[in-house]
């Protein structure tokens, strides 16, 4: 099976961490003993095969000796703080419905109207990279939107700024909205030249999460690229590492 060769390759190298070399981490005897008890419990419950049980016990030995080298644990973060992943709309899902999100990471829904979401690769309609996101009205206007997953409200941080590069044709209407834990909205017609649209949102008191929606409500077409969403102000790295309950 060729895929087993692929998984051997995946096993051999960190997938995303850019080849970070992690220092060996020694586990305490107490921690290792507790893990061993858990493994024995797993075994009694039929939740671990004999071979995996032995593999994990061998790893525990290496953890105790300080010789184990974790391959998956990351010690780095992206250079720029951006809550949004796939902000360039480069990762597309060709198998998706045209009135839903066509992009990985983003969600999407339609509330009526005749719209088509799609990826765009004509260079004049792409702000950077290979693709932009295109939302086109094909007939009756209504409301279609793509959304972020739930994003965290950081402790002590009230304001968040969303920006996206946009370009439009026809009687389009872009509607940006902070929702479900934050407030702030913007509606505007987008012109034929690329422009950066910026919207600030404010977390509602007590909110722990929020969502940002990008809607199209008019006729015409809107292209979107290079979206970014980040807390406003000086955010110290530790406060980002430590969320509200860490």
């Amino acid at each position: 099976m060729k895929a087993f060769a692929l998984l051997a390759l995946l096993a051999a190298m960190p997938l995303f961490a850019g080849g970070d070399v992690k220092p060996p981490v020694r586990w305490s005897a107490d921690r290792a003993a507790q893990v061993r008890r858990d493994l024995d419990r797993m075994k009694r419950a039929g939740l671990i095969s004999e071979r995996q049980y032995r593999r994990k016990c061998a790893m525990l030995e290496q953890r105790l000796a300080g010789t184990f080298k974790p391959a998956a644990l990351s010690h780095t973060n992206p250079p720029e703080l951006n809550f949004i992943q796939n902000g360039g709309f480069e990762q597309i899902n060709r198998n998706s419905a045209r009135n839903r999100s066509r992009w990985l990471w983003w969600g999407g829904w339609s509330w009526g109207g005749d719209y088509e979401n799609s990826w765009e690769n004509r260079p004049e309609y792409v702000h950077s990279g290979k693709y932009s996101a295109r939302i086109r009205c094909l007939g009756k206007p209504g409301r279609i939107g793509i959304s972020t997953p739930k994003l965290p409200v950081l402790p002590g941080v009230k304001k968040y700024q969303f920006s996206v590069w946009a370009k439009g044709e026809g009687e389009n209407q872009l509607f940006l909205n902070f929702e479900a834990g934050a407030r702030g909205s913007l509606r505007k017609k987008i012109g034929p030249k690329w422009e950066q649209v910026v919207l600030e949102g404010e977390a509602e008191p007590g909110a722990r999460e929020f969502t940002l929606y990008i809607y199209a409500t008019g006729r015409g077409t809107i292209w979107l690229d290079d979206a970014r969403l980040a807390p406003v102000g000086n955010i110290k790295k530790p406060s980002l590492r430590r969320s509200s309950c860490d």
Partner: protein
Amino acid sequence: MRLNRPLSALAGAALALTLAAGPLHAAVELYVTDYLAPQVKTIRPLGGSPTNVARLFAAPGEYEPVSFAVRPDARVEQMFIAPTDLTGPKGRIPKENIRIQSVESYHGGDRDILMDLGGPWDMPAYRRGLFWVTVHVPDSAPAGRYQGQAVVTGKGKPLARLTLELETLPIKLEEPPFALGYNYSSPKDAEALAAHLADMRAHGMTTVAPLYNFHLPIYDADTSELGEFIEAYRRAGFTQPIYFGSPMQLISRLAGYGPVDSARFQQKFLAVMRRLHAEERRHDTPLLFSIADELTNKGRPGIEQGALLARLCFEELPEIAVTADMNGWLEVTTLAPWLNVATFNNGWDGIDHHNHGRRLINREFILNLQRRTDAIPWFVNAGSGRFPFGFFFWKIAKYGVRGKVEWYYNLGDNERGSLVRAEGKTVWPTLAYERSREGVDDLKYLVTLERLLAKARRSGRAAAAARRAEGLLARIADGIQDNWTAYAEGGETFPGDGFDVMAPSQAAGLSRYQALRRAVADAIVDLQKALPGPANR
């Protein structure tokens, strides 16, 4: 023309008298149907010939259904159907153990539901009503023959009868050694939770897979809902580990912390998983955590994320038993080396077509997976209904599959996909849900026979009966394809044409499926008789 009030009342009374003069209690057509057939108005009699005698057999503790159709040739006022006790020389099964329900619209097809009759209703002439009777044989019911009726009445007068002939078997069915269950959403209500868990247990489930609407300790350290669920699960008598599906939402719920390969995401992920595991440790029920949800739907980038997360769990959380809900060949083969359990459906090509037509629920893949990885295979979303839970699962489990979790007990606000309609503590089952129970019962009969057979082989006794049982099991196994695609996409059916294990005279009054189960039941009785010792009877 507008009548004044006295005249109008008079005219109304006259009209009522005229209409009331029509026949009220004419012949009522009633015949037994096949409960596995589509429950539609055109349903035909079981076996082709109409009969109002339902032949049932069941082991103590078992729930056994029969379905029937009723159609009067004249309007019936205040129609109702009520059971009598089932009586026999050795005892009585009270009518409280007999539930009569009508087939009602819900989500269509096998997702229509069975509802209790409530009160009497007026039945138009020539309208066909579809009904199920489910007999719950008490654990203490002595083996033997019992008879009773479901009586159709109009204004309290008997109009037709369904005769119920029940044979209670001298068999104690064994619990299947597999995790069988449904995804489940928290009702946020302790009484409803207890009722739902009891209902699933009564439908033969051995596990539950909590997924949506359960609190995850992302912004606090509150794991009390999980703890309360574990305790309710234990009280309900489930026998297998909990399939804890909620953590699969963490990839999405923590998306704002950064990509899966960032320190921020990983630290948060590990913290949440450790909090949940700490709650697990406080109880005596093991959990299997599912960390990813069908990443084949996200193409190769999704699978890379899943592989990293699975390996992160293997290395940093070896104390947690981990799986992932997977739906593609590359996804399973890539994640499985880092998972305790590889849980998958039959798979599809993926959004970028990377799987090139490979399917997963087949003998070759399941054996290969276990040769190449340490993961234990389970199924997820591999089909509800009698065959997927019963004979097919029995056959394919021989290659190492240990569990099966299906979509979905109570999805959202009774959304499409739900196997029941739940309102608080009240549950109305879908046809698929009831048929799934029959599948689990098939599995129990097969497992019971296999255990008895093993006992006979160990003891070296009952050789002839053991040979007959072995022959029957081999014949049934040979009649089942080792490949789910044959059934799901290839038009194969079970039992296939010409696949019968009983003489037609013995199988009279039984569906082909029931005849198959009856053959297994007879083999159990045969072997029990041949084996010495009261424990085998």
